[in-house]
């Protein structure tokens, strides 16, 4: 029986506070999840007993996540704010974890080794990663409690002491209140092996034959059946009771969600970055120690924990082998993030690594090494693992410097100020390019965001069916993500979404072409986009209420569990840290087996060094294929210096190359993301190749497939690219002068905080729909048409179409998206095409589509054929985005429609969109199409285009609408007839086939409009 705790535990605790405390001060805002937990904590600060949280999605129950860690942050925040609360709770639980590791280690290794294990736990890579990269406080809460509960469970089954049972249950109560997943899997991978080990210890495993042990074990189980019948039912009751509202929610919430792709399910061989992030980093130094850990675990006594460790390691390999999928089943495999298994495996390894260090520093391995390699050699050998452990801790703590985990810190004060003034918080907002800082923003305001950062609670239909955690990071999710964002931007009035805070210009074209406009740039550089004509939120928002007793349970029981634990620990404080069982000497690993570790470590190091050296010595110019792949990779990641190094020597200098690129803007140059390339050799010559590279680019608006010819030349066994040629045309005029239209809507009253008065309400500009048709195109139905602004002010238009079946039952409604110009000048005519989109990936069969079809479109599935439609157009006065100085030249319509888009104004057009309208012989619209040009157009410059003629032959007119089908600003168009002088069209050209007319206008997105 020991009277004292090893002093290394005290050192470990001090080290943890100093090291993690100082590092967390820097890393807190750079982690993935810290702000999410802070947001949850903020909920409890604002309303402890009200579980409905309005601020994310369209509202979600806070009962969807175990509350204790958040409630503790909330409690601490009353002292020093939310960040202080997180910081304090994290350090408190880290210390508890280190104590837990020490106590857990005492079950397997000597006390001194347990002290070393506590020391190692401070810098264990999985712990450092969980705190400083993931910011996963509940996981730390869960594992801390589990580590502390295990010795009590062991002791209870050995001694049958009630004190042990009470302590074990009180700790497990806190575990479940903090992180239910740890409790549930902990029962399987930790508690069951521990109970088994306790029973094995009782029957004795050292010298008895195997069948005798099994027989004795079965007898013992029957002897202790009462303990089993007490322990397990009580634990289950505890698990169910403490977070009962969580189980109730997860059982009853009708929302079915698509699982989110997670790198931990990747094949780590195919996706090495996932392997590094979810397997190599969590294991870290433990990876080198695997021979020691396995040898220590695979003994008669430790076999159950050894099996648990092996299983966790296997599950942690994700999709590298099919075994985890077979073991977990498809459903669990797609829902769980598998890195948690690696995390738990790494925790199991800690006691044995501690034991290794004890033996290396002051035990038999030290003696063996000194004897074998001498004292000097020993110190060198010793320095290697110590340096590696130190390096891994420093590396992971500073991981964000090597790999940015979050966008640079955004000063959110200007955004908060914006939201709180002029009643901007009466609409929902969304952030783009904020990373997890959006959660921090939400925690500081009561304004509602349509987005959120907690995927399990996604309630908005557009979010629940697409595998995208938040819209905020949709650009990283390929078309699926962008599809979700587009649907939100198109029908934003449905969600009262009016403001978007954009920290990433990638999204700008989507916003513009979906009818959004730039409102202002804040002091922190964030651009505010707004959608005009979106109704404000109603005074009362719907919520899913829950019974009062559940609200009280949720607010009271987790904290009760926590304070119960405090009371129990304080009561048993004198015995809590002491181990009353004999010390366990690890004899499975003999000092002379050290060569296994050395060989294994060398193998691991050689394995990683191979890839590193291979990458270091890699010369992309060794073959045409690698040359082109690297060239496109460099272009994609804007590594222009690297790209230039692949060019054959020519008159083009690097400075000139950069200069030429710097004046190049457009959808591809500024907003494109390379998906893949394929190379086709067109002609072969000696030392020369002519190839065509087909590259697919994802841009915010469309996926482009581009074919670029290249000439490659070989010189001294290396291949080079002949540099591209740049635009040679010169602008004719040195200066351009032009009068432009400027409009400012300012209202007509004194500046006041009072709500809207009648005088403030502007007239809605009057529109007139000239014609519209319901068209069937394959299985898809679209509505095409044309409208004119017949008012005297520019208008921002929202065009909505409702489709009806033969029984006049409304089937669907949708808004015009890209195929129109949302800003219409007085007397200007714009075409529109409205497609009816189903929310993408709705079907179960579509779950988790890892690969997407670039031309994927999810038409609305009509149960009845639409037979009629109504168009509801509405307008508000527009005072932005009125650039019209772009036109078409050299236009011809033969097999293709070709021409040049010319910019005769004073601003560069970043993304020009052609809107082509095709008319029937009677002048009514038959088809409307859009086409985005990939390059920007500078003033007095032009870009060639060539587009396919419309698929009119494949379309069928279902209905030509009459005036009674049109509604303008809520009124029937029949009551608003404009006084046309004549209705002849002098702005359309006859088609060459004589089947009607056509017209092309240009909708221009200016990335950097001139500020007057």
């Amino acid at each position: 029986m020991y009277k004292k705790v090893d002093k290394l535990l005290l050192i470990a605790l001090i080290l943890a506070i100093v090291y993690h405390g100082s590092a967390l001060l820097i890393n807190l805002e750079k982690t993935y999840d810290a702000y999410v937990h802070i947001f949850f904590a903020d909920h409890y600060v604002r309303s402890w007993f009200e579980p409905w949280e309005y601020r994310w999605y369209t509202g979600f129950p806070i009962t969807s996540y175990p509350p204790l860690s958040h409630q503790l942050i909330a409690l601490f925040s009353f002292i020093g704010g939310l960040k202080f609360g997180f910081f304090t709770a994290a350090l408190m639980m880290l210390c508890f974890f280190i104590v837990g590791v020490y106590r857990f280690a005492e079950l397997w290794v000597p006390k001194r080794s347990a002290g070393y294990a506590a020391m190692f736990a401070v810098v264990a890579s999985s712990i450092v990663q969980t705190i400083h990269i993931y910011g996963q406080l509940p996981t730390i809460f869960g594992i801390s409690c589990l580590m502390n509960a295990l010795p009590e469970v062991y002791a209870y089954f050995r001694t049958n002491e009630r004190r042990r049972l009470i302590t074990a249950l009180s700790i497990l109560g806190v575990t479940v209140a903090s992180h239910h997943v740890t409790t549930i899997f902990g029962m399987v991978f930790f508690i069951v092996p521990i109970i088994g080990t306790a029973l094995l210890d009782e029957v004795g495993v050292e010298d008895a034959p195997f069948f005798r042990i099994v027989f004795d074990l079965i007898l013992l189980v029957f002897k202790k059946i009462k303990q089993f019948l007490i322990f397990f039912p009580l634990v289950i009751i505890e698990i169910v009771l403490i977070i009962f509202p969580y189980w109730y929610w997860s059982k009853n919430d009708p929302i079915t969600q698509v699982s989110i792709p997670h790198g931990s399910r990747d094949s780590f061989i195919e996706v090495t970055s996932s392997g590094i992030m979810f397997f190599v980093i969590p294991l870290g130094f433990s990876l080198l120690m695997l021979p020691y850990v396995f040898k220590s675990l695979y003994t008669r006594r430790n076999i159950l924990l050894g099996l648990s460790f092996s299983m966790l390691m296997l599950l942690g390999t994700g999709g590298t082998t099919p075994l985890p999928l077979i073991l977990l089943g498809k459903n669990a495999f797609n829902i769980l993030t598998l890195d948690r298994f690696t995390f738990w495996a790494s925790v199991i390894a800690i006691p044995f690594i501690g034991d290794f260090f004890r033996r290396l520093l002051e035990g038999d391995i030290r003696l063996y090494l000194v004897r074998t390699v001498g004292k000097f050699g020993y110190y060198w050998t010793l320095s290697i693992p110590i340096c590696l452990v130190g390096f891994q801790a420093i590396f992971i703590t500073n991981f964000h410097k090597a790999q940015a985990l979050q966008p640079p810190t955004v000063d959110i004060d200007p955004i908060l100020k914006f939201l709180s003034t002029d009643q901007h918080d009466r609409w929902r907002f969304m952030t783009l390019g904020f990373g997890d800082q959006m959660a921090w923003l939400s925690a500081q305001t009561t304004a509602l965001s349509i987005d959120g950062n907690y995927h399990s609670a996604r309630r908005v239909p557009e979010l629940t069916v697409e595998p995208i955690e938040r819209i905020e990071n949709s650009k990283f999710k390929g078309i699926q993500g962008i599809g979700s964002l587009q649907q939100f931007l198109t029908i934003s009035e449905k969600y009262h979404l009016k403001f978007i805070f954009s920290n990433d210009k990638f999204y700008d074209p989507i916003l513009y072409f979906s009818g959004w406009e730039r409102l202002q740039r804040l002091d922190n550089g964030i651009m505010i986009w707004q959608k005009p004509d979106v109704p404000s939120l109603p005074s009362f928002l719907p919520k899913k209420d829950m019974p009062k007793f559940q609200k009280i349970m949720w607010g009271v029981l987790p904290l009760t569990a926590f304070f119960t634990l405090l009371v129990v620990i304080i009561t048993f404080r004198k015995k809590y840290l002491l181990n009353f069982f004999p010390e366990r000497e690890n004899t499975a690993f003999r000092p002379q087996d050290s060569w296994i570790i050395i060989v294994w470590s060398l193998l691991v190091l050689v394995f990683f060094s191979y890839f590193w050296i291979k990458g270091f010595l890699y010369d992309p110019r060794k073959s045409p294929e690698t040359l082109l792949k690297n060239y496109y990779h460099d272009l994609d990641f804007k590594l222009f210096k690297d790209a230039f190094s692949l060019f054959a020597p020519s008159a083009l200098t690097y400075d000139n190359y950069i200069l030429q690129l710097s004046v190049k803007d457009g959808l591809l140059a500024s907003y494109g993301k390379l998906e893949d390339i394929s190379i086709k050799v067109k002609e072969r010559f000696p030392h020369k190749l002519k190839v065509v590279v087909k590259s697919n680019w994802t841009t915010p608006l469309e996926v482009y497939s581009i074919e670029n010819p290249h000439t490659l030349i070989e010189k001294d066994g290396k291949w080079f690219i002949v540099p591209p040629e740049f635009d040679k045309a010169l602008a004719p005029d040195e200066h351009l002068e032009k009068g432009i239209l400027a409009l400012h809507s300012q209202g007509k009253r004194k500046i006041t905080t009072a709500t809207t008065e009648h005088d403030d309400v502007l007239d809605r500009p009057e529109l007139h729909i000239l014609s519209a048709k319901l068209i069937q195109y394959g299985k898809e139905y679209v509505v095409v048409g044309e409208l004119q602004n017949v008012d005297y002010l520019p208008a921002h238009v929202t065009i909505q179409t409702q489709l009806y079946d033969q029984y006049n039952v409304k089937l669907v409604e949708y808004n015009a998206k890209y195929t129109t110009n949302h800003k219409v000048l007085p007397k200007e005519i714009v075409p529109f095409r409205i497609e009816f989109e189903e929310t993408a990936w709705v079907k179960q069969a579509d779950v988790n589509p890892m690969k997407f079809n670039p031309t994927e479109f999810t038409p609305f599935e009509f149960r009845h054929k639409p037979t009629s439609f109504k168009i509801l157009a509405r307008a508000v006065v527009a005072d932005k985005d009125l650039y019209r100085d772009v036109g078409i030249e050299s236009l011809s319509f033969d097999k293709k429609i070709t021409g040049d888009v010319i910019n005769h104004g004073t601003d560069e057009v970043s993304v020009p969109e052609l809107l082509t309208t095709f008319y029937d012989p009677d002048g009514s619209v038959r088809w409307v199409d859009h086409y985005f040009l990939r390059d920007a157009i500078r003033p007095q410059a032009k870009e060639h285009f060539s587009i396919l003629p419309p698929p009119i032959a494949k379309t069928k007119v279902l209905q030509s609408a009459t005036e009674k089908d049109f509604f303008i600003n809520g009124l029937p168009q029949t009551s608003l007839a404009p006084t046309y002088l004549n209705t002849g069209r002098f702005d359309i050209i006859p088609q060459t086939n004589g089947k009607g007319f056509y017209r092309i206008i240009v909708n221009s997105y200016l990335g950097n409009p001139t500020i007057y």
């Binding site: 002609e683 020369k688 002519k690 635009d727 040679k728 045309a729 010169l730 004719p732 005029d733 351009l736 032009k738 009068g739 432009i740 239209l741 409009l743 007509k748 009648h758 005088d759 502007l762 007239d763 004119q788 017949v790 008012d791 005297y792 002010l793 520019p794 000048l825 007085p826 007397k827 200007e828 005519i829 009125l882 019209r884 100085d885 772009v886 036109g887 078409i888 030249e889 050299s890 236009l891 011809s892 021409g899 010319i902 005769h904 104004g905 007095q940 032009k942 404009p978 006084t979 046309y980 002088l981 004549n982 209705t983 002849g984 069209r985 002098f986 702005d987 359309i988 050209i989 206008i1001």
Partner: protein, 405 residues
Amino acid sequence: MLKLDHIVMLFLLLWVFSRCKHDAPISSNGAVQLESDSTLTVGAGLVVGIHPVNIPLGEKILITCQNSWGMDVLEKEVNGSSIRLILSKKFTRISGMITLKVFYLGKELGRKQIEVLPKKTAEPLDAYLGAKSILADGKDWAMITAIPTDTFGNPVENHTPITYEILRPDGTQYEIQATTENLVSFQIINSLTKAGKTFIGVSLNGVASREKELLEVADFPVNFTIKADSHSIYADDHQFFKIKTSVLRDRNNNIMPEGTAVSFLCKEPSGTGRFLNSYTIDGVAELSMQNPKEAGTLEIIASVYGGGKSNVLTLDFASPIDHINARYEAVNQRLNVGPLIAQLNQLVPNGTQVKLVFDNNKLPTLLQEVVDGHAYFDFTDLPKGDYPVTIFVYGIGKKFVINRK
């Protein structure tokens, strides 16, 4: 002749009416008297004396206070033979009749009616104008509405006279007298044919409204003209010239509002088309247009849908070059097209396109841009032989044979 069933029906009706009771007239014949002023002005406090009260001390009576918006119920403890009830301003904010009733144990003990008179009309007088803009076509109209109320929102009496003073865009100023009818007074304002602002003031007994403003704007424009401001006569596909419209006006000679869209449709000398757009500033739409690629006539027409169109403007352009120099450089195995000399013996602009078409059509057409008067076509990879080609610059062609050795 009356039928029997009609007689029975008649008697039945008479019997039903005879059973109907009128509400008892409001009187002070109950057990208690309510004493107060019978009229007061809105917002004033009201003191009501209730006596004699023959109810045990400590008991509670209920007093209902009903006005035209609803009823309040007050509770009062009996502490003597008379009770003094003070009603705050909130009970007298609505003009009209207030009926006070006193109840004890569900039985009405007495009642009183008090008339609450509206206050003087509050400033500013409520006036609303819609639509805020109309067409200056002599047909369109807007409506000005006045709702005079006191500070508590109580309307003034019916037939209260209201004065509308109106200043029109043509400078005329006139006054209209009207009265309120069912709380409001309104006037239709028909548009004139001159665009501009109409200002309206509404007043009642010296109480005025804010200035109301009606915008009368131009209707669709009538036909207009276009002209080229100054243009070079050479089809160099390079220089820009300006097209301007005359001032766009409607039938009543009003200038079109700023920003009115004007479409320009052009036919190029090569038969291809142009779609260009502009908008009006001070009634004039201006457009920069580039010289065509080929010599010939450029036809331009401008229009505003629903309104007028312009004349067809024709502009003639000559080719800036009259011949193409070209030579094959055997050393570099390339065709040098140039120097390309333009009309003033200057080099053609950089970026001018040179098209090379293989006459046998077996090889694809090549395009190059001119830099410093020259365009180069590389034939290093071309198999040896003679290749007849045609070189095109500004629509002018030149035959040439490339002798690849």
